[in-house]
């Protein structure tokens, strides 16, 4: 088991490096020269060249790439072109809202998705089952931004149960914090849980048809034990896979959520950076998202090996 984990960890190193190379290169070929943007419309070619050399943009590609990767490895994301402040400093205050949103949504969507999926499988073919599946299909079919705006309009604007905009940090008290995050958390958890529900249900129903479930019943086990141990364990592989995928989708979807709900997190910062052509921030955010996805995949792989003894590399 440990051997397997170490192997998987070692594999992530080249992946992270590759992501760094691609991130850096993409912005090299992207239109728009940061130096020209900093200089403004009035800048003369000499001034722009000066800015370029100050930023190191006139150096050869591979030298710039080397500098970039070296900085990333030190955990230094560089300096924002727009505000001239270190990006690490800019990120810090924005971590809390994003992490809080992410953690809440991952927990809630997993609990909701797996729980409702299990209920649906247990009650397969009944009215409860159909109700859960309708709920799940609606979750699939609903565009996230539409549901987000609708929920703001209904619950915040018309009913006034939650603040329309405005984020309360944890420092304002846990309750205030949760209240200000409630709508984005619920909307994203619902959308994220839809797929988990369906996969949980179908995975469990599939395992229920396996020969070894008949064996378990022939041993005289309680249906509860059959369901929660003999069925749930083998079906958790596809479940873990979709939960991982949901977390991945969240790592990219937070841009939209934070924009709509005006949460001052990393996603909002990314949107601002893109409109301002603030390349170092964009690079930094791409790296953060990529590394999050890599870590999620790593965790999923390790959980696989824990669940299924047949998986060993």
């Amino acid at each position: 088991m440990w051997r397997y984990i170490v192997q998987r960890l070692l594999i992530t190193i080249p992946v992270v490096l590759l992501v760094g190379v691609i991130t850096f290169s993409l912005l090299q070929v992207a239109p728009g020269n940061p130096a020209a943007i900093i200089g403004g419309d009035e800048a003369s070619p000499e001034q722009i060249a000066e800015i370029e050399s100050a930023l190191g943009l006139d150096k050869p590609y591979f030298e710039q790439l080397g500098d970039f990767l070296a900085r990333m490895l030190r955990g230094d994301f560089g300096t924002s072109i727009f505000s001239q402040r270190p990006i690490n400093q800019l990120i810090q205050p924005r971590l809390q809202p994003t992490l809080s949103l992410g953690i809440q949504v991952v927990i809630l969507s997993t609990v909701l998705g797996v729980g409702m999926g299990m209920l649906s499988a247990w009650k397969a073919g009944t009215r409860t089952d159909r109700a859960v599946m309708v709920f799940a299909v609606l979750g699939f079919a609903t565009p996230g931004f539409w549901l987000a705006i609708l929920s703001i309009w209904v619950f915040a604007v018309n009913l006034g149960w939650f603040p329309v905009i405005g984020y309360s940090p944890l420092g304002d008290g846990l309750l205030e914090h949760l209240r200000s995050m409630f709508l984005p958390v619920i909307v994203n958890s619902y959308l994220g849980s839809a797929l988990v529900m369906r996969i949980t249900r179908s995975a469990m129903l599939e395992v229920l048809r396996e020969d070894y479930i008949r064996t378990a019943r022939a041993k005289g086990l309680r249906e509860r034990v059959v369901f929660f141990i003999h069925v749930l364990r083998p079906s958790s592989i596809p479940i873990v896979t979709v939960v991982g995928a949901t977390v991945g989708a969240l790592a990219t979807g937070f841009v939209l959520t934070e924009t709509i709900f005006a949460i001052p997190g990393l996603g909002q910062m990314l949107v601002q950076a893109i409109t301002r052509r603030d390349f170092p921030i964009i690079q930094a955010m791409l790296m953060v998202v990529a590394i999050t996805l890599i870590v999620v995949n790593l965790i999923v792989d390790i959980v696989y090996a824990y669940i299924d003894p047949r998986i060993r590399y």
Binding site: Y212, T215, R217, A218, K219, L221, I229, R310
Partner: protein, 356 residues
């Protein structure tokens, strides 16, 4: 019984078997298990009756799809519902009807009083739970053992079925064992709580021939040691000839002939049994050059004909077979056959040799 046996009633068969011996360990009466799909009812088991005494070994033989396995699964009410349902009959086991038991009593019978081994050793064990867990579960459940007791008993059981190094192997998973070993583990699980009855549903069909023999010997020896009755369900007549005391031949959801192994093999009185015996290679006979398969196809159980279900494939068929389903005729003692023309039915002359 009154009158001649040409009027078939559902009860006739069981009346006949009942007369033979009043108290049996297991007595199945008029069992009917049907599968329901839109527009069709498949009568997989249709009015089946048979019995089993303590310590006895009985074979249930027939082609694929004749209802053997459905019969076996019905005994423990393991028929998946939907689509299947036991629509009628009684399964008297130790004096109680399994079909009328509540869930708790039923669970006490499953794995406790009746053990079962299935056809597919490769898929019958849970791939993600340790063998130890799967083996100790019934012990804790039915024998009230503690974790530690169950653990050491499980190790004994593994040794008992011929898997050495049991302590280590208990921590293993199904994929680390061969097909034969997995079937040994299934036997250990099925026999773990000293059941009165072991049902082996095609338990050796998926194994290669040498392993088949080992597994059968193991089952036979263990059930003899423990005094457990055994139902062997198979399409392999050789297995039945060697191990079973009595044989029930099944076709299209019905038992066509029943008798001792000697009677069935030496003096079959149903055309289907004769056909089965003719289609098996026999080492104890001079080579006839080729085997005679039974002509025709297995029936679609959703569209059974009026009268006898074997009529289309039967060389003895007469007009009456299409009109009326034949009742059980007693040939002699407990040897019964469901055929109008049974007196004409004989094995070809050169056959009729004893079992191995």
């Amino acid at each position: 019984m009154e009158g001649p046996t040409n009027e078939f009633t559902p009860h006739r068969w069981c009346e006949l078997t009942q007369q033979a011996s009043p108290e049996h360990l297991l007595e199945v009466r008029n069992l009917r298990t049907h599968f329901f799909s839109p527009g069709a009812v498949v009568k997989a088991v249709d009015d089946v009756s048979f019995y089993l005494d303590e310590g006895e070994t009985v074979g249930l033989v027939g082609e694929s799809g004749c209802g053997k396995s459905v019969t076996a699964l019905s005994l423990l009410r393991l028929i998946p519902n939907p689509p299947g349902r036991i629509v009628g009959g009684e399964i008297m086991f130790e004096g109680r009807d399994i079909l009328k038991m509540d869930q708790d009593d039923l669970r006490a019978v499953r794995g406790g009083r009746i053990g079962m081994i299935f056809q597919e050793p490769m898929t019958s064990l849970n791939p993600v739970l340790t063998i130890g867990r799967q083996l100790t579960e019934p012990l804790k459940l039915h024998m009230g053992m503690t974790n530690r007791q169950a653990r050491s008993r499980a190790a004994e059981l593994l040794e008992f079925v011929g898997i050495p190094n049991a302590d280590v192997r208990l921590r293993g998973f199904a994929h680390q064992f061969s097909g034969g070993q997995r079937q040994r583990i299934m036997i250990a699980i099925a026999l773990s709580c000293n059941p009165k009855l072991l049902i082996a549903d095609e338990a050796t069909t998926a194994l290669d021939v040498t392993i088949q023999a080992q597994i059968l010997e193991l089952m036979k020896n263990l059930t003899e040691q423990l005094g457990t009755a055994l139902i062997i369900i198979t399409h392999n007549l050789g297995i039945v000839a060697r191990y079973a005391d009595r044989v029930n031949v099944m076709y299209a959801g019905k038992i066509k002939e029943t008798g001792t192994a000697d009677e069935i093999y030496e003096e079959p009185r149903h055309p289907y049994t004769v056909g089965l015996l003719n289609s098996v290679p026999r080492l104890d006979l001079p080579t006839r050059g080729r085997l005679d398969p039974i002509p025709g196809e297995i029936l679609n159980l959703a569209r059974l004909p009026e009268g006898c279900s074997f009529q289309d494939r039967c060389e003895y068929a007469v007009d009456r077979c299409a009109a009326e389903a034949p009742p059980a005729h007693t040939v002699q003692g407990n040897h019964q056959t469901a055929c109008w023309e049974w007196e004409r039915v004989k094995l070809p002359a050169e056959a009729g040799v004893s079992q191995s």
